[in-house]
């Protein structure tokens, strides 16, 4: 127990300390450090994010934009573009395994991803058109809401099977998957399909607007709103992100808002961190890690809010 608590404190301190190095040299004084120092600091920070994201059961994208946007000298336009790519890369990398294991349903993801893609494009266009300070304030509020959502849904989750609605029956949104944890197949079906489609459209807008991965919203929408078993909801959310973020990523790319010097170290950092995170997961309590994530999100959300209000 003591080891777990110490590990939790260590993760919080490390994640908080890395961007503080960057904070020492804000945008106007960025030249105080050589150019190559920034990708290295970014790599180290995203490496820690990858660990915390896996242990906390969230995607790295939701941590990336508020932390890097708040504490690094890069403009929020480029940070949001990188955040989208980061979430997209993680979802794409996990996609084949999730599909093969049956822990993601292609049929369930397809209609939701279509609604999310349209929303993602809309969000990306709005985000790139709005003044930075407006986006920063909205991002701060959104991140604080995400932290609140994570706090209030930390012990919730429903695996109660509901009768399929008309839309779900028409689209064949039902089936079964093998859950290795229980050792047998789990039947699933979907209800409130139209609400789910509307939710994914809205989540797509938020994702495209702020460059956030959307697992924090997709999973509750699938599980609590549509009645999808939690494990299938997590897997299908990842698959949906791999499609939804593609649409918004193209918008950012076409607008010239993707900087390789930010994108590549971030993707590599999070991916390597995630591998280490899988090992750390065995030594640390998931609830401790989730609390670390909530604390970091609150700090980053407040900073984004303050930055937007005082700029």
């Amino acid at each position: 127990m003591r080891l777990r608590t110490l590990a939790g404190f260590a993760a919080t301190a490390a994640l908080a300390a890395a961007p503080r190095i960057a904070l020492a040299a804000p945008a106007s004084h960025a030249s105080a450090l050589p150019w190559w120092a920034w990708p290295l600091i970014l790599f180290a920070t995203t490496f820690l994010m990858g660990i915390v994201a896996v242990v906390g059961g969230i995607g790295g994208g939701v941590l990336f934009v508020p932390i890097v946007g708040g504490f690094f000298p890069f403009h929020l336009d480029f940070v949001r573009g990188a955040g989208l790519l980061l979430a997209l890369s993680g979802a794409l990398a996990a996609g084949p395994g999730l599909l093969r294991s049956g822990l993601a349903s292609l049929r369930l993801a397809m209609p939701l991803a279509l609604a999310g893609s349209v929303g993602g494009i809309l969000g990306a266009l709005v985000g790139l058109a709005l003044p930075t300070r407006v986006v920063q304030v909205a991002l701060g509020i959104t991140v604080l809401l995400i932290a609140a959502l994570m706090w209030f849904t930390r012990s919730s989750g429903s695996d109660v099977r509901h009768a399929a609605d008309r839309w779900a029956i028409a689209m064949g949104l039902h089936g079964s998957f093998h859950d290795p944890a229980v050792g047998h197949g789990v039947d699933w079906s979907v209800h409130r399909t139209h609400h789910g489609l509307a939710a994914f459209f809205g989540i797509g807008i938020v994702g495209g607007l702020f460059g956030l991965g959307a697992g924090w919203a997709n999973v509750p929408a699938l599980n609590l709103l549509m009645g999808v078993p939690l494990k299938l909801a997590v897997g299908t959310s990842g698959l949906a992100i791999s499609i939804i973020n593609t649409s918004a990523a193209w918008v950012y790319m076409n607008k010239g808002a993707l900087l390789p010097i930010i994108i590549v170290p971030s993707i590599l950092g999070v991916m390597l961190g995630a591998r280490v995170g899988v090992r750390v997961l065995k030594a640390i309590k998931a609830s401790t890690a989730r609390n670390v994530v909530i604390v970091v999100l609150v700090a980053a959300g407040i900073r984004s809010l303050v930055q937007g209000l005082v700029s």
Binding site: W35, A170, T246, L258
Partner: protein, 134 residues
Amino acid sequence: MPLSTPSRRNEQEVYARWLAWGVRLGFGALVATFFLYVTGLVPPGIAPERLPQLWGLPVDQYIAATGAPTGWSWVARLREGDLLNLVGVAILASASIACHLRVLPLFVASRERVFAAICVAQVVVLVAAAAGVF
């Protein structure tokens, strides 16, 4: 029809196989081109030393200051190391389009009109986003 029936297994398997190849190709290209960029083996259009004065600008001011490309004009400038990285990004962002195109005939063959239509609509949305329609 449960998920474990042959038809559903098949489309998931095919989608997963194509996605796995797209991801391998995309990540491979991303890492290789970034190596060429940061080592200077392929000279960048914008010197990395200039970046700390530029990356704090909003994207429209950054483009005005550097002449960085928008849309697909980067393809004509692939000799610039920084823009070469966009090849990997484009492959990753095209993977889902290729996967949808690959499973579309499977839905058509099994006469699943709703999913065939969703597939077509998804491809149209993603291609339009890629083409810069929006």
